[in-house]
C-alpha cells in the first residue's frame, strides 16, 4: 500500500448526480464565456435542466440503494445511501426553484449572464459532497466549494454596495470558521489516526482510550462543531447571517437559506452520528445548548427587526434551532442500529423548509422591486389590495413558517417535536414550541402589513409590484408543495424515514 498508488475503481454511474451538475457548470462557464449572450432564459433553463436531471438520477440511485444496499464510492471517500439521495434531491429542488426566481431578477437588474447559474451549480455540488462525504477531508472540500460559491454569490450584485459588503463579511467570517473546522479535523486525525468516518469509529473501538487519552479528539470535536454551527448559523455563531442575508441579492439569499442549510445540516448530522457516535455524550449537551440558544435568540431578535429580509434571516436562525432539536434527538441514538426519528425528522424539516424559504424570498424579491432595495416592512403595505393572489401565497408561506396546521411547516415541526419527545427531551420540545410562538409574531407582522395596514403616501409613490411569470411559477410551486404536504404528508414522511433506514453501516 505504501509503495504503489493503486487507482481506485470508480462506479461512475453512482456519481452521475454530481457529474451532471459539474458538467452543466462547466458548460455554462466555458461555453457561456466564449459565446455571445444566450437567448433570454436559456442560462436558467440549462441550470434547471441539470438540477432536474440530477434530481431524477438521485431518485434512480435511491431506488438502487434500496435494493442493493448502501455503498461507499471512490475508495471509501463518499457514501451513497438513502440519506445522501434525499439531501441531493432537496438541494436540486432548491436549485430548480432558485433558477426560476433568479431569471427574472437578473434581467430586471440587467445582470443576466451565466456566472450566477454556474455558481449555483458549484455550490450545489459542494452541498451534495458534504452530504455524501465519508471522510473529513472530503467534507472540507465540499464545505469550501459551497462556501466559496456563496461568497461570490453574495457579492454578485455589482452596483449595490450592500451586496459587496455582505460578500466581504461572509468571506472573512466564513474563512475564520473554516479554519476552526480544519483545525478540528487535524486534531481528530491526531487523536484517532484517521479522517475517515468509519475508521474514526473503529479506532475508538479498537484502542479504547483510557484516562483522558482522547482529549485531542474531544478538542477536535469542539472545533468541528464550531465550524459546522457557523455554517448552519446556530447562535452564538450566527452574527454573519442577518447582514449577509440582508445585503445579498434576494434570490441568492433564498438559495443560501435553502441549499446552504441542507448541505450544512446534512454534513453535521452525518459527522456527528456516523463519525463521532462514541463521543455522543460529550457533544449532545453542546447541541442542546446550541439549539436552545438558537431558538430563543433567533425568534426574539426576529421580532424586533423592521427589514423583512433581516426578519427572515433571524427566522431562518430560529428554524435552524428547530432542526437542531432534531439533531439533539438523533444524538440519543447515534451509532445504534435503530437510528430513531431524529435524523429523518431533521432531513424532512430541511426539505420542507428549503421549499418554504425559497417561496417566501421569491415574494420578497418581487416586492423589493427594481434595485432590490424595498425590503422594509412598509414596502409590503397594501399588497393585499394591489396583488391579492401574491399576498395570499405569501400568507400561506408565512403561516407555514409559523407552523400552522395543514401546511408543510407544521408537519416539519411536528416531526421534530415527535423525535425529541421520543427521546424524552421534553424540555427542548417545549422551548422549541414556545420559541415558535414568539416567531409567529414576526410572521403576523408581515401579514398585518400586507392585509390590514393602510398604505401611506410614500408607499404609493413606489412602482407597482410586477409579477413576472417564472417567479410567480416558483411561488405557485412552493405554495402548492406546502399545502399538499400539509394536507397529505404520509408519503413524504415515509420517504424521509425510508431514506434514513438505508444508511451506510459503520464498523464491522
Amino acid at each position: 500500500m505504501a509503495d504503489t498508488f493503486t487507482a481506485p475503481t470508480i462506479a461512475w454511474f453512482d456519481l452521475t448526480p454530481i457529474l451532471v451538475l459539474l458538467g452543466a457548470a462547466l458548460l455554462l462557464l466555458l461555453v457561456g464565456a466564449l459565446t455571445p449572450r444566450w437567448p433570454r432564459g436559456l442560462y436558467a433553463a440549462t441550470t434547471a435542466t441539470a438540477a432536474g436531471t440530477a434530481m431524477v438520477l438521485s431518485f434512480v440511485l435511491w431506488d438502487d440503494v434500496t435494493d442493493q444496499g448502501a455503498r461507499t464510492l471512490v475508495a471509501d471517500a463518499v457514501i451513497l445511501d438513502g440519506f445522501s439521495s434525499f439531501a441531493t434531491i432537496a438541494i436540486c429542488a432548491a436549485v430548480l426553484l432558485a433558477c426560476l426566481v433568479t431569471d427574472d431578477y437578473l434581467r430586471r437588474e440587467q445582470l443576466d449572464g451565466p456566472e450566477i447559474y454556474a455558481l449555483y451549480l458549484t455550490s450545489a455540488i459542494g452541498g451534495v459532497v458534504m452530504a455524501m462525504a465519508n471522510d473529513l477531508i472530503v467534507l472540507f472540500i465540499g464545505l469550501e466549494v459551497l462556501s466559496m460559491s456563496f461568497y461570490v454569490l453574495a457579492a454578485s450584485h455589482r452596483r449595490r454596495i450592500e451586496s459587496q459588503e455582505s460578500g466581504l463579511k461572509y468571506f472573512v467570517l466564513g474563512g475564520f470558521s473554516s479554519a476552526f473546522f480544519l483545525y478540528g479535523v487535524a486534531l481528530i486525525y491526531g487523536g484517532s489516526g484517521s479522517t475517515r468516518y468509519d475508521e474514526i469509529v473503529t479506532a475508538f473501538n479498537d484502542v479504547v482510550p483510557t484516562e483522558r487519552a482522547d482529549a485531542l479528539v474531544l478538542a477536535g470535536v469542539a472545533l468541528l462543531v464550531v465550524g459546522l454551527a457557523f455554517k448552519v448559523s446556530a447562535v452564538p455563531f450566527h452574527f454573519w447571517t442577518p447582514d449577509v442575508y440582508q445585503g445579498a441579492p434576494t434570490p441568492i439569499t433564498a438559495f443560501m437559506a435553502s441549499a446552504g442549510k441542507v448541505g450544512a445540516f446534512a454534513a453535521m448530522l452525518r459527522v456527528l452520528t456516523e463519525a463521532l457516535p462514541n463521543w455522543r455524550d460529550d457533544w449532545r449537551p453542546v447541541v442542546w445548548v446550541l439549539s436552545v440558544l438558537t431558538l430563543v435568540v433567533g425568534s426574539v431578535l426576529a421580532v424586533v427587526q423592521t427589514n423583512v429580509k433581516r426578519m427572515l434571516a433571524y427566522s431562518s436562525i430560529s428554524h435552524a434551532g428547530f432542526i437542531l432539536v432534531g439533531v439533539e434527538a438523533a444524538a440519543h441514538r447515534a451509532g445504534e442500529a435503530d437510528p430513531g426519528q431524529g435524523v429523518s425528522a431533521s432531513l424532512l424539516y430541511l426539505l420542507l423548509y428549503a421549499v418554504l424559504v425559497l417561496g417566501t424570498f421569491a415574494v420578497v424579491s418581487l416586492v423589493a422591486r427594481t434595485g432590490d432595495g424595498n425590503t422594509d416592512l412598509s414596502a409590503f403595505r397594501g399588497l393585499g389590495r394591489t396583488r391579492p393572489a401574491l399576498a395570499l401565497g405569501m400568507t400561506v408561506l408565512l403561516l407555514a413558517q409559523a407552523g400552522v396546521p395543514l401546511t408543510s411547516g407544521f408537519i416539519a415541526k411536528f416531526g421534530v417535536i415527535e423525535a425529541a419527545v421520543d427521546e424524552n427531551s421534553y424540555a427542548i420540545a417545549i422551548i422549541a414550541m414556545l420559541a415558535s410562538v414568539i416567531a409567529a409574531y414576526l410572521y403576523l407582522r408581515i401579514m398585518v402589513s400586507m392585509w390590514i395596514a393602510d398604505p401611506e403616501p410614500a408607499d404609493e409613490a413606489l412602482e407597482p409590484v410586477r409579477t413576472p411569470f417564472s417567479t410567480v411559477l416558483a411561488v405557485v410551486l412552493a405554495v402548492g408543495f406546502t399545502l399538499v404536504v400539509g394536507v397529505a404528508p404520509g408519503w413524504i414522511v415515509s420517504a424521509a424515514e425510508n431514506a434514513t433506514t438505508i444508511v451506510h453501516q459503520v464498523g464491522p
Partner: protein, 514 residues
C-alpha cells in the same frame, strides 16, 4: 356505510369557503348567495344530525374513520356524542344567522370566505376523535378569526388580533408537546403509534405523575381558550375589537373549545389527574366568576361589559365540569349552549346599537326604551336569559351546575352562587342606564328594530325560551354521555360520584319555582 354526515359538516363549509374565494369580486350577490347557501345547508345537516341522533346511546355516533398519515398512526376520526352534539348544532345554527344578519361593510368576499373556513374549523374541532386531528382544527380556527378581527374590527384591532393569536398559540405549544408525549407513552402499551383519542383513553394507563403533567399541558391550552382567570386578558380586547360577527362566533362557539376540550380530552384521557387538580380549577373558576362579574360592573363600554360577563359565565361551566357529578357536568354542557345563545345574541344587539349610534359607551346611550320599545324588549329577554332567570335557558344550566356542584364542592358553590346575584346587578344596571330614562338629543332618533334584524334575533329568542321551558330533549341527549364519562372516571380511579347516574327531572316543574 351510510352518508358521511360528519365529514360533510366539515367539508361543505370548507368547499364553500374555497368557492367564495374563487368567485369574482365584481359579483357580490353571487358571493353572498353561495355563502348563505353553504351555511344554511350545513345548518340543515346539523338539524338532520340532531333528528337522527340516537337519544339513549352514550357512545360516539356517526363515526367516520379513515387512515390519514399512516407512518404516524393518524386517522381522520370523527364522531359525535351527547357532549358535542349540541355544540355542533349550535355552530350549524349560528353561522347562517351571522352570515345573513350581519353586514361586514367592506370586502364581503374575503369576509365570507374566512367565515366559512372558520365554520369548517369549528365543526372539525367539535367532531375530532383523534388528538392530532383535533389539534389541527384547534389551531386552524385561529387563522380565520385572526383575519376577521384584524380586517373588519375596530380601532385597536391589530393589537387585539395579535394578542388573541399569540395567547392561544402559547397554550397550544404546551398541548402539542402533551399530545405527542401521550401518543408516545401510549405506544409502549398499545404496541403501535396512534393518536386515536378513544383507543388511548380506554386502553392506555399512564403513571400518576406523568398523567398529571400531561393533563396540565392540555389544560393550559384549554384554560387560555376558555378563558380562565388569570389567562383571560386577551378576551376583552378580542371581543371589543372584533366585528359583530366575529364576536358572536367567538363567544357563541369558539370559547366552548376550551370547556369542551377540558371535558373531552382533559377529563376523558386523564381522569385521575383531573380529579387531583379539581381544587385548583374550582378555585380558578370561582375567582373567574367573581372577578368577571365585578369587572363587568365597572365597564363603561357595553361590549366590554358583555365580554367580562363571558368570563364569569364560563367560570360556571368550569365549576360544573370539575364538580364531577352527573348533574353538574350535564349542566355545564348545557350551559355551553346557553351561553352561546344568550351572549351571542347580546353581542348581536350591541352590534346593532353600534351600527345606529357609532358608540358603545354606556354613558352616551340613554332612554332607548322610549324610542325603540321592541328593540328594548328583545334586549331584555336576552339579558334575562344571561342573568339566568327561571323560564329561560340560562336558569336550567346554572341551576344544574349549582345543585350538582353543591354535592362535591360545597364552599366553592356557595361563593359561586353570589355570582348569580352579581350577574343580575351588572346586567340590570347596564340595562337601566341604556334603556331607561328620557332619551337625549343624540338618542332620540334611534331607529326601531328592523325586519331583517328581527328575523336574525327571533331564532335566538325562540331557542332561549324553548330550552328554558322544555329542556328535556336536550338533557335526554346530553346525560347518557355525561354518565358514561363519569363511569369512565370511576372505572379508572375508583371515584364515586355522589349523585346516582339517573336522568335528572328538571325543566317541567322548574317554572313553578319563583
Amino acid at each position: 356505510m351510510s352518508y358521511p354526515i360528519l365529514t360533510s359538516l366539515v367539508a361543505v363549509p370548507a368547499v364553500g369557503a374555497l368557492l367564495v374565494a374563487l368567485l369574482s369580486k365584481n359579483r357580490p350577490e353571487w358571493v353572498k348567495l353561495v355563502a348563505i347557501l353553504t351555511s344554511v345547508f350545513t345548518g340543515a345537516l346539523t338539524v338532520w344530525l340532531l333528528s337522527s341522533f340516537e337519544t339513549a346511546d352514550p357512545g360516539f355516533q356517526f363515526v367516520s374513520k379513515h387512515e390519514w398519515i399512516k407512518p404516524w398512526g393518524i386517522s381522520w376520526h370523527l364522531g359525535v356524542d351527547g357532549i358535542s352534539l349540541f355544540l355542533v348544532v349550535l355552530t350549524g345554527v349560528l353561522f347562517p344567522l351571522v352570515i345573513v344578519g350581519i353586514d361586514p361593510h367592506h370586502d364581503h368576499k374575503r369576509y365570507l370566505s374566512w367565515m366559512l373556513l372558520l365554520e369548517a374549523g369549528m365543526m372539525g374541532s367539535f367532531l375530532s376523535l383523534d388528538l392530532f386531528l383535533f389539534f389541527v382544527f384547534f389551531e386552524i380556527v385561529l387563522v380565520p378569526m385572526y383575519f376577521l378581527i384584524g380586517g373588519w374590527g375596530y380601532e385597536g384591532r391589530i393589537y387585539a388580533a395579535t394578542k388573541f393569536f399569540l395567547y392561544t398559540m402559547v397554550g397550544s405549544a404546551f398541548m402539542l408537546v402533551g399530545i405527542v408525549t401521550t401518543a408516545m407513552l401510549a405506544r409502549e402499551q398499545l404496541g403501535r403509534l396512534t393518536f386515536d383519542l378513544v383507543e388511548i383513553a380506554e386502553q392506555a394507563d399512564f403513571a400518576t405523575n406523568t398523567a398529571r403533567w400531561l393533563f396540565l399541558a392540555f389544560a393550559v391550552a384549554f384554560a387560555v381558550k376558555v378563558p380562565m382567570f388569570p389567562l383571560h386578558t386577551w378576551l376583552p380586547d378580542a371581543h371589543t375589537q372584533a366585528p359583530t360577527g366575529g364576536s358572536v362566533i367567538l363567544a357563541g362557539v369558539m370559547l366552548k373549545l376550551g370547556t369542551y376540550g377540558l371535558l373531552r380530552f382533559g377529563v376523558y384521557l386523564f381522569p385521575e389527574a383531573a380529579l387531583w387538580s379539581r381544587e385548583l380549577f374550582l378555585t380558578l373558576a370561582v375567582i373567574g366568576i367573581l372577578y368577571g362579574a365585578i369587572a363587568a360592573t365597572m365597564q363603561k363600554d357595553l361590549k366590554r361589559l358583555v365580554a367580562y360577563s363571558s368570563v364569569a359565565h364560563l367560570g360556571f361551566i368550569v365549576l360544573g365540569t370539575f364538580a364531577f357529578t352527573s348533574q353538574a357536568i350535564t349542566g355545564a354542557t348545557m350551559q355551553m349552549i346557553n351561553h352561546g345563545l344568550s351572549t351571542g345574541a347580546l353581542f348581536l344587539l350591541v352590534g346593532m346599537i353600534y351600527e345606529r349610534r357609532h358608540t358603545r359607551q354606556i354613558a352616551e346611550l340613554k332612554g332607548l326604551q322610549k324610542v325603540a320599545p321592541i328593540f328594548a324588549a328583545a334586549f331584555m329577554v336576552v339579558m334575562l336569559s344571561s342573568i339566568g332567570v327561571p323560564g329561560l335557558n340560562g336558569f336550567i344550566g346554572e341551576y344544574l351546575i349549582l345543585i350538582g356542584s353543591f354535592l362535591t364542592a360545597r364552599w366553592w358553590t356557595v361563593v359561586a352562587a353570589t355570582g348569580v346575584i352579581l350577574a343580575a346587578l351588572y346586567l340590570l344596571w347596564a340595562y337601566q342606564r341604556v334603556f331607561h330614562g328620557e332619551p337625549d338629543e343624540a338618542n332620540r332618533s334611534f331607529p326601531e328594530l328592523r325586519i331583517r334584524e328581527a328575523a336574525v334575533l327571533l331564532p335566538f329568542i325562540g331557542l332561549i325560551v324553548f330550552t328554558g321551558v322544555y329542556p328535556k330533549p336536550m338533557l335526554d341527549r346530553i346525560e347518557p354521555s355525561v354518565n358514561a364519562l363519569i363511569t369512565h372516571v370511576s372505572e379508572k380511579t375508583g371515584y364515586e360520584s355522589p349523585d346516582t347516574p339517573e336522568p335528572v327531572e328538571v325543566g317541567t316543574h322548574q317554572e313553578a319555582q319563583p
